[in-house]
């Protein structure tokens, strides 16, 4: 039975609850300040009473006893726990945000498997505890109090969900970072405007010279055609931005975005729900992009996007077997035939 309404203990609880939300921690001095009990012994007695009814929870902080406030509903739920459940609960509570593996927990409670299982199940269904995957031990199920969030080293940071790398989040955030860095590290040129600048930079060339040059190019092409070789096409297409504008390098001496700036941008834009990524998280993300060849380091702290895409080339699955006179050789190679389109596959 909870303490009777209007009793001293109830008064103490009400005053605590009026000022603070459940979960707040009170020290003896705080409680004495409510002026419910006349003497210290009395106060201790009242606290004891509340603890018995699960409205308070005893904790120690640096050797000093303190009490944590619980809501009445929780207390009610807590009151109807079985002793086994309470035992399991207390062990889970003790580990805090690190969580504890199922088997370790059972060992600590010294319960039988069936009892333990029932208690655990019951606690989970009543929403006292929750399970999660620890990134370090991906195969094991970990438990912690329902109201807590797993510690960084247990969950692995923002890029992990359920103990696995959240590839979708990483890819999404990467794109976001890349776009930001691209805007800040390359100049985007409108094809039209660029043309004007082009003209401006050109010396005035007499029309005859242009014609001469054109003829030269034409004859070179014709020659190339005769000799069976294609003319020199532009080897690389200029890199384009998402909006189709040409990317042109910034002038020398440009300051490129740093980790701090990228982090600031991510935080400001609030792309990730509920979580504020740490600078170290963003640094790891940027590093992975550098290794992926999508960002490159400029100077000591800056980054820019690479303006290129990789060109693919083929590879032979039976290359090691291939030798003259062997079962696979240059004469009977089907891959050659396929590539050269000399035979219908």
């Amino acid at each position: 039975m909870p303490p009777a309404t209007g009793s001293k203990a109830d008064q103490l609880y009400e005053r605590c609850a009026a000022r603070h939300k459940p979960g707040h921690i009170f020290y003896q001095a705080d409680l004495a300040g409510f002026n419910v009990a006349d003497k210290t012994e009395m106060l201790i007695q009242l606290c004891q009473e509340l603890v018995q009814h699960n409205l308070f929870q005893v904790l120690t902080h640096e050797g000093v006893v303190c009490w944590k406030l619980r809501s009445r509903e929780d207390a009610a739920k807590f009151s109807c726990l079985t002793p086994h459940e309470r035992l399991v609960y207390s062990h889970i509570e003790a580990v805090g945000t690190t969580g504890v593996a199922r088997d370790t927990l059972r060992g600590r409670t010294t319960l039988l498997e069936a009892q333990f299982k029932r208690a655990l199940h019951s606690l989970e269904s009543k929403n006292f505890i929750k399970s999660f995957f620890n990134q370090k031990h991906a195969s094991k199920r970990f438990y912690m109090l329902a109201e807590l969030t797993p510690a960084e080293d247990a969950s692995g940071g923002i890029f992990y969900s359920d103990g696995e790398l959240d590839i979708d989040l990483i890819d999404g955030l990467s794109l976001f970072v890349l776009r930001f860095v691209e805007d800040a590290s390359w100049a985007q040129v409108d094809p039209k405007k660029h043309q004007q600048q082009h003209q401006k930079g050109r010396r005035s060339v007499p029309a005859s010279a242009i014609k001469q040059k054109k003829d030269a190019v034409q004859s070179a092409r014709a020659h190339a055609f005769r000799s069976g070789l294609p003319g020199d096409p532009p080897r690389y297409k200029p890199p384009l931005s998402a909006s189709g504008r040409r990317l042109v390098p910034r002038p020398p001496g440009h300051t490129y975005p740093t980790i701090t700036e990228i982090h600031g941008f991510i935080v400001r834009s609030q792309v990730i729900q509920d979580v504020v990524p740490k600078q170290a998280d963003i640094a790891a993300l940027v590093e992975h992009l550098v290794f992926d060849g999508r960002l490159e380091r400029m100077g000591v702290t800056g980054f820019r996007t690479t303006g290129i895409t990789e060109a693919p080339c083929g590879s032979c699955p039976v290359f090691d077997l291939c030798e003259e006179g062997g079962p696979v050789n240059a004469g009977n190679c089907i891959y050659f035939a396929e590539w050269l389109e000399t035979e219908e596959a």
Binding site: G253, G307, F319, E324, N329
Partner: protein
Amino acid sequence: MAQNFAELCTLLVDDLYGELSSRVFSTLLRHGRLTLAGLAQTSGLTSRQLKHGLVVLIQQHLALYYSSDSDGQTYYEADGINAYMLVRSGKIIRLLQERFGESAGGLGLNLLLLGHVKIKDLADAYGFNKRKGKTNGPEGINGGGIHDEEIDTSHIRSLAELHRVLDELLRAGFVVKVQETHFRPAADIENDAVQAVMESQFPNGVKGTKEKAQLATSVKALKRKWRDGDDYDEYNQSAGTNGVSNGLKRPAPGPAPTGRKRLKLNGAALNGLNGINREDESGSSLDEEMVVRLNYEKCVVAMRSQQLVRLAERHIGYETSRVYEALLRVLERKIRRCHDDLRDYVDEEDDDVAMSPTISSVEVLNALDPDTNLYGDLILDDVSVAGANGGSGIKDDEEEEGVHEVDGDNEEPGRLFLVTRHIRLLCEDPHRFATWVGRRGGGEFRVNFSELTKSLIQHEIEQTVAAKFGRFAVRLIRILYAKGKLDEKQLHLTGMIKQKEVRAVMSTMQEEGFAEIQEVPRDNNKRDTSRAIFLWFFEQDRVRRLLLAEAYKAMSRILQRIRVERDKVQSVIDKAERTDVVGNEDKYLNAAEKLALKEWMAVEERLLVQLDRHDELVATLRDFSPSYSGMVP
């Protein structure tokens, strides 16, 4: 690798110089150093046949020989690297054509076909108007002989022009005077040099480390002298633009680089004009008795420049890459070979950089084609950029202002400034295409070739890895290259790849030899594998050798396939080559035959392009880096 390399070289020799030569060559390559008697024994050929074969091989620098004073024997050795260079013939001719005009291209082709030649004989062969049958000989790996008319591009019309073109090529270092040592195997040169130095400087033998070091230096100097000939001292002292005067009777007026650029860009029209101008001034200026040949080492330097320009184009932009090209070409005049094994090094890396030549913006500007549009990819001011957001506007720092002002006196205001801007873009790029040295001449720069070569090699490796194993694999390789040895866990964390995938990707790469694993015991209990740490690592040099061997093998396969394809249509080719058919193809060949020929040519062209790409790869992996150049793999 040696096996693949030998196979490839033999195929190349076979294609160009026929079965007899290739049999002699492959025997030498497989058995190493042999006397004529030894050759007869191992090859099963008669000594008459062998002599025929050897003459061709020696003429083409495919075999080296050494007549020993002590036992009177002559030993023969195959030169694999020179044999490999046969595959590069087309590229070298194209390169000469591009830089020095069509006549140089034609001359280059003839020099390639002749191996080495006395200038007088070369002039005779030309007959000053058309070439004699001699130069029309074997036709390169194209085989077939259908493209006969293609050779007819060399427009050397007079002795004077021949001398002018040769002079130009000699000065640029693409043609060199043949020294006697060029025919001798490296080991014999070493022995002779040591002996000569011992006799002259250390008649009482060498004692102590100091004298040993002295001996080594002297031997190197002597070998250098033998290799580079008379111009050695001059070259080393001036190390400048005009240092390479190779057997010239009088120094001709300095070559005009801008003119040369014009040659390249404007093609034949201007070229002819230019040629006439030069003809008047330079008469027969070369020593008629001088023996010359193409210098492959210099061609490799040019190939390196090409590849670097391509890399710059890909990463920065077209206009900047043109500036880089001009920069590298000016530098090339000061560079003879990618790496000189005979130079005196104290500390390889540092010396390499410190001793490398520098170049100024003014020099680049002078070498740059005046029509090059320098504005193209250059953003002068962030304000002028359309749609730029987030970038902090940049103000010219004092140095640039200074350059701008100096430029005011120039006939073309701003061009020097623009060139410097482009070079600074090259400096800022993560590849470090150039490094800033000082402020002389509007900005003085240097190119760290050894670092750039490493990044070229790494680039090639990464491309191969990407094609073979996918994106994750490249990421992992890059991580390992940057961080050294790492365990699976660290790879997974840094690469943000799931641990299971890391293991899968890494073990496939290990199977193919691209990555290696090392087991490090955690404690003294070495047999307990569960208590061991497994570290992945990637070694650039190892993978480089692996790719090189694969490239050799792939090139052999391509050459073999070319033969297979040719055999398929051999009858039609034979018909097309008949003297009565040539010129009357429409009359004698039916539609099916024409189609067959056309298809065959398309197929062969593809294979040759692929061969060419592999050759680029070989150049990157083998020829640019110090540890390999000049060595037979």
